[in-house]
């Protein structure tokens, strides 16, 4: 939905009202026509020569977030946390194709980039390319449709059916306030990259990936430790060639590694998670611990806070990542209790919460989600809040810009 707000420079006299046409501001020309009642004197509202108030809006108000992940689409916990921050739960579209990969909430639409496969399963087998290969994906269509949605136009997006391996008839996607494009290649094509207001890369280390896939697949007939390992190994060359390089473009990288607190832990249950945040990104102020730009090592467990094994350890500091200046916030270990979480939250800065305890509240709300007791849940929640903050700043900036245009 396009939101174009008008802030009159002077307060309106109560009998003066301004109304917008009720029809949806879709891809109509960039000017909005307002109807002002006769009580609105020309001294209070700028009018054109024909006496009609016009406001110029920038095209669309959709912000686009890119999320690169190798965990399939729509099942990522990150998506659910993010949409929860905005309010409401993202659900598969009611009616339509039951195998749709799309998720929709009041404010957010999540599109799975697998829908832009140019080759279906048979086609990929014939050409000898994996789904990771750019040759299996239609980046022209991806760019065209993401651009259209960003400009406030609805699109007929194809559906890639993961069950059948075929491309199904398209579904209609209306432009939302927040569009998330999730998948293997959100930052691969430079034109699509340009459209992103914010981008995130979920970087799972091999050991953790292996542990997670074991949890996912071991109960399936046909799978064994060997087959799970073989599948990861076989996909690695394409992953390293086409997917991994995208992380240099991300505004935020969430790196998930095995813990350093337990020697030889290979269960992947306790995790060390690093939130790598690019400096200098518009509307994005990195989270910090205690003193921005310094280097900190912090173990919150002690006299004030008792933690159970293996405890919690934080680190923060500036670094360089693929030639960019970044700030890194790191958490190793697990939260066991509510008071540990609130204690940690109270020591973090620039977290973009709207009230004290908002992070804790969000984490508790989804305590059944994976990662709710460690850095993955914490940093995903923080990134969600940052994106909300970004959205509000961009919306405000656009409102300011349109006011300037109205004055001119």
């Amino acid at each position: 939905m396009a939101v174009c707000t008008v802030h009159p420079t002077q307060s309106l006299n109560p009998t003066c009202s301004i109304s917008k046409p009720s029809s949806f501001f879709g891809h109509s020309p960039r000017q909005l026509v307002f109807l002002a009642s006769p009580a609105c004197n020309s001294s209070t509202i700028p009018r054109g020569r024909d006496g009609v108030l016009r406001v110029t809006c920038s095209s669309g108000d959709t912000i686009v977030i890119g999320l690169a992940a190798d965990s399939g689409c729509g099942k990522s916990t990150f998506m659910r946390r993010l949409t929860s921050v905005f309010g409401g739960a993202a659900e598969p579209p009611k009616g339509g194709n039951p195998d749709s990969n799309t998720l929709i909430s009041d404010t957010t639409t999540v599109i799975c980039l697998d829908d832009y496969h140019s080759l279906d399963r048979t086609g990929r087998k014939e050409k000898g390319v994996t789904a990771l290969d750019p040759r299996a994906n239609d980046f022209d269509l991806m760019y065209e449709q993401v651009k259209a949605l960003k400009e406030g136009k609805a699109v007929d997006k194809p559906i890639y059916n993961h069950v059948t391996g075929l491309l199904d008839p398209p579904e209609l996607i209306k432009p939302p306030k927040i569009l998330v494009i999730e998948g293997l290649h959100p930052m691969f094509d430079p034109r699509v990259r340009e459209l992103l207001d914010f981008s995130i890369y979920l970087d799972i280390s091999n050991e953790v990936k292996f542990a997670w896939k074991i949890q996912r697949d071991m109960a399936e007939r046909g799978h064994s430790l060997e087959s799970i390992k073989a599948s990861i190994e076989a996909r690695k060359p394409d992953f390293d060639a086409y997917i991994d390089p995208q992380k240099q473009y991300a505004d935020a990288v969430i790196e998930v590694l095995p813990t350093q607190l337990i020697p030889d832990d290979n269960e992947g249950k306790v995790l060390r998670v690093r939130l790598i945040m690019k400096e200098g990104v518009q509307y994005f102020k990195p989270v910090y611990l205690f003193d921005e730009g310094s280097t900190i090592s912090w173990v919150p467990c002690g006299r004030k806070l008792t933690c159970s094994y293996p405890g919690i350890k934080f680190a923060y500091g500036p670094d360089s990542y693929f030639g960019h200046e970044v700030s890194v916030l790191e958490m190793d270990g697990q939260f066991d209790r509510l008071d540990e979480l609130i204690y940690v939250e109270s020591h973090l800065s620039n977290i973009s919460t709207k009230f004290y305890g908002e992070i804790t509240q969000q984490m508790l709300k989804h305590s059944d989600f994976p990662g709710s007791n460690n850095g993955t849940g914490l940093f995903q929640t923080i990134v969600g809040l940052k994106i909300r903050d970004l959205f509000e700043q961009i919306t405000e900036a656009k409102a300011g810009a349109s006011l300037q245009a109205a004055k001119a």
Partner: protein, 131 residues
């Protein structure tokens, strides 16, 4: 495996409400038609979804076998990599469907609410045999 069996009390009217497996009234004392139902591990409600689950499970087995065969000799060949990518795709689809069922609802629910008489919206569990 949890199983709750509710006896069939009356006859051949189209079922208006199928009692859920963990519904409090285990034994139906009213004249409302109920069904003999065994709640298996799968929370899939409709036949169409159960068929899909079965299909994905079989695919995983099949694709793993294929991949092992194709990769004998050269495990860096295109065919080998594509074969394991297919294994990943169907494993992920299987996990995703399982999760959708646990966290949301049967994906066929909106369709089946409007078209309960279609084959894929059949609710009884004894039509899909698990080999």
């Amino acid at each position: 495996m949890a199983s709750i069996i509710t006896p069939i009390t009356s006859s051949l009217e189209a079922p208006k409400a199928v009692p859920k497996a963990n519904h409090r009234e285990g034994i139906s004392t009213t004249r409302k038609p109920s069904r003999l139902r065994v709640q298996a591990m799968s929370p899939a409600k409709y036949k169409g979804t159960r068929m899909k689950e079965k299909h994905l499970k079989e695919m995983i087995e099949k694709k793993v076998t294929e991949a092992k065969e194709v990769c004998i000799g050269d495990d860096l060949s295109d065919e080998c990599r594509v074969a394991w990518d297919e294994v990943e795709e169907v494993s992920e689809a299987r996990a995703h469907l399982r999760e959708k069922l646990e966290k949301y609802r049967d994906p066929l629910e909106p369709f089946c609410n409007d078209n309960p008489e279609t084959d894929e919206c059949h609710v009884s569990e004894d039509d899909v045999t698990d080999s």
